[in-house]
């Protein structure tokens, strides 16, 4: 297991290099000149050229790349062209926000999705099953912006229960922080819950009809034990895969939801950076997201081993 992990971590390094090269290459492929966009209405060609020199945007991409890698290894990811802030500082600001949002959304998703999936599989073909499915699928089809705005109008404007938007760091005021994040994570969580519920249901159905579950039933074990212990454990593979992926996606950014609730997270940052061609920021974020995905996939792979005893023996 330890060997497996250390090998994976080693393999992860080339991935990151691959990704960083990819992102750098895109810089040349994307239309639009970062300085022209930055300039907005003030497009003085002489000034633009001087800045291009200054930020070394005229250098060949490989030269820029190695300069960037060299600095990155020393913990310097460059400066945002738009706001002048160091990228590392920007990300240090956003990462906690994004992780908090991702974790809270995932809690909503897991707490709603998995039990609903089990129940639906167990009561397959009954009214409960149908209702659970319809709700799950509507959770998936209802656009996040619609649910988000409706929640704001109802909970914040009409009932005045929760703040409509904004963000308070956990360290500043724990409860207020949780409160500001409740609605956005609920909106994100419900959509993910639908996916998890459908997968849980499907794989539970497969497992519940399997021989060993029947054997367990025949042995007279209680339904709860049969369903939860023997059933769920074996049904978890796709759920683990998905949870890891969805969590990665949450970190990469829930753009619309962040925008509606005005949460200063990664999603908004990366979208604005791409639209403004603020490449230093894009590169920094992609790098961090890549590490996030690699880590989550690693966790998923490790969990496969934990869940399936036979894999461990190999």
């Amino acid at each position: 297991m330890l060997r497996f992990l250390s090998r994976r971590v080693l393999i992860a390094l080339p991935t990151i290099v691959l990704i960083s090269i990819f992102v750098f290459a895109l810089q040349k492929l994307l239309p639009g000149d970062p300085l022209l966009v930055m300039a907005g209405e003030e497009r003085d060609p002489a000034v633009l050229e001087a800045l291009r020199e200054k930020y070394r945007l005229n250098d060949p991409i490989p030269v820029q790349y190695f300069a960037w890698i060299g600095n990155a290894l020393q913990g310097d990811l460059g400066v945002s062209l738009r706001t002048g802030q160091p990228v590392t500082e920007l990300m240090a600001e956003k990462l906690p926000v994004t992780i908090q949002l991702a974790v809270m959304s995932m809690i909503f998703a897991l707490v709603i999705g998995i039990p609903a999936g089990i129940l639906s599989a167990y009561k397959k073909g009954t009214v409960t099953d149908y209702v659970a499915n319809v709700i799950a699928l509507s959770g998936l089809s209802i656009p996040n912006f619609w649910l988000g705005i409706m929640l704001i109008l109802l909970v914040s404007v009409k009932w005045q229960l929760l703040p409509a938007s904004g963000y308070v760091p956990l360290s500043e005021d724990f409860w207020q922080s949780i409160r500001t994040m409740l609605m956005p994570s609920f909106v994100l969580g419900t959509a993910l819950a639908a996916t998890l519920m459908r997968h849980t249901r499907s794989s539970m159905l497969g497992v519940l009809s399997a021989d060993y579950v029947r054997t367990a039933r025949a042995k007279g074990l209680s339904e709860r034990v049969v369903v939860l212990k023997h059933g769920l454990r074996n049904a978890l593979t796709p759920i683990v895969t998905l949870t890891a992926l969805l969590f990665g996606e949450l970190v990469a950014g829930a753009v619309l939801t962040e925008q509606i609730f005005t949460i200063p997270g990664f999603g908004k940052l990366v979208v604005d950076a791409v639209f403004n061609r603020d490449y230093a920021v894009v590169q920094g974020i992609v790098l961090v997201t890549a590490v996030g995905f690699i880590f989550m996939n690693l966790v998923a792979d490790a969990l496969y081993f934990v869940l399936n005893p036979r894999l461990r023996e190999q």
């Binding site: 691959l18 998936l140 459908r198 499907s202 990366v270 496969y304």
Partner: protein, 297 residues
């Protein structure tokens, strides 16, 4: 699994997939599946609407009426009018074409790429797995937006290009799902014994691995249709998909976002339609899943 001339060493008793006569059983189970039938009807309905759009007696989806901007549903406009006075129903019906295509074709692309790659990664492991998995991670980490803008600049606006972009971006999830499932199954006794008796790898893959991989893939595919329909809109916004005034459900939703208060129906119809299409495909998928499940009777 329709191959009747199976090696005699594998008998129906040891092979769960062949436990019953497959074709008959599958179809019979599917037909008796009421909810699957309902799903089929839903999907057929929307496909029919999309196909028949040119001959249905509806308004011109691009015709504007300055006197009827954002009017609620009425006899003249059954689903109301949009922000520049166009008939929402006509736009819903014409938009079904773009949206269904975007949903189904891009999921098709993702399936065709994702499932084989996932099976290879999971079954062969080692370097094959390492290469495929690392590329998947790279793809996951690269923002979809960048990919879309680059494609838009090189390929220009067209629905086909949008479908390719959505399909590619949806591929990693299918690779990961398939791979995880394969890793889990390949340690099962029946796969190991098939391996032991020297069954050729392609046959093991198609006969034992694929059927067991299918359930989660089916579920994911039917869910991804919804995501793809909505993604089409953001792409047309970037100049990659359908361009205005051509309608699609996704872009109608996108516009409706600014009028949730003043004209809630603008969001309602595309929202409900996406829901029904996704519901239809999911019920169909469930039916298919049950029908293919070798163990369930």
């Amino acid at each position: 699994m329709t191959d009747a001339a199976t090696p005699s060493t594998i008998t129906a008793a040891t092979d769960p997939v062949l436990a019953a006569k497959p074709e008959n059983r599958v179809w019979k189970k599917f037909r008796s599946h009421k909810s699957a039938l309902f799903g089929g009807i839903l999907v057929t309905f929307f496909v029919a609407i999309a196909v028949l759009a040119p001959i249905l007696p509806i308004a011109d989806p691009a015709a504007t009426d300055w006197g009827a901007v954002r009017k609620a549903p009425s006899w003249d406009h059954w689903m109301g009018t949009d922000e520049i006075g166009r008939d929402v129903m006509a736009r819903m019906i014409w938009g079904a074409q773009a949206s269904l295509l975007a949903g189904v074709v891009s999921v098709g692309i993702a399936l065709m790429l994702g499932v084989p790659l996932g099976i290879m990664a999971g079954y062969f492991g080692g370097w094959t797995d390492a290469v495929i998995s690392r590329c998947t991670e790279a793809l996951l980490a690269a923002p979809f937006l960048i990919l879309a803008i680059a494609l838009a600049a090189f390929l220009g606006p067209s629905l086909t290009n949008a479908m390719i972009a959505i399909g590619i971006s949806a591929t990693p999830i299918f690779i990961r799902l398939t791979r995880g499932q394969v890793i889990n199954i390949k340690s099962e006794d029946y796969v190991e014994s098939a391996h032991a008796i020297g069954l050729p790898t392609p046959r093991i893959l198609t006969r034992y691995i694929l059927p067991n991989v299918l359930p989660p893939i089916l579920v994911q595919a039917t869910l991804t249709i919804a995501t793809a329909i909505i993604a089409e809109a953001s792409l047309s916004f970037l100049g990659l998909g359908q361009q205005p005034p051509e309608p699609s459900w996704g872009s109608m939703l996108n516009t409706a976002k600014n009028f949730l208060n003043q004209a809630p129906w603008m969001a309602m119809w595309p929202g409900i339609s996406i829901f029904l299409v996704v519901l239809g495909f999911n019920l169909l998928g469930d039916g298919l899943r049950d029908a293919l499940d070798p163990r369930e009777h």
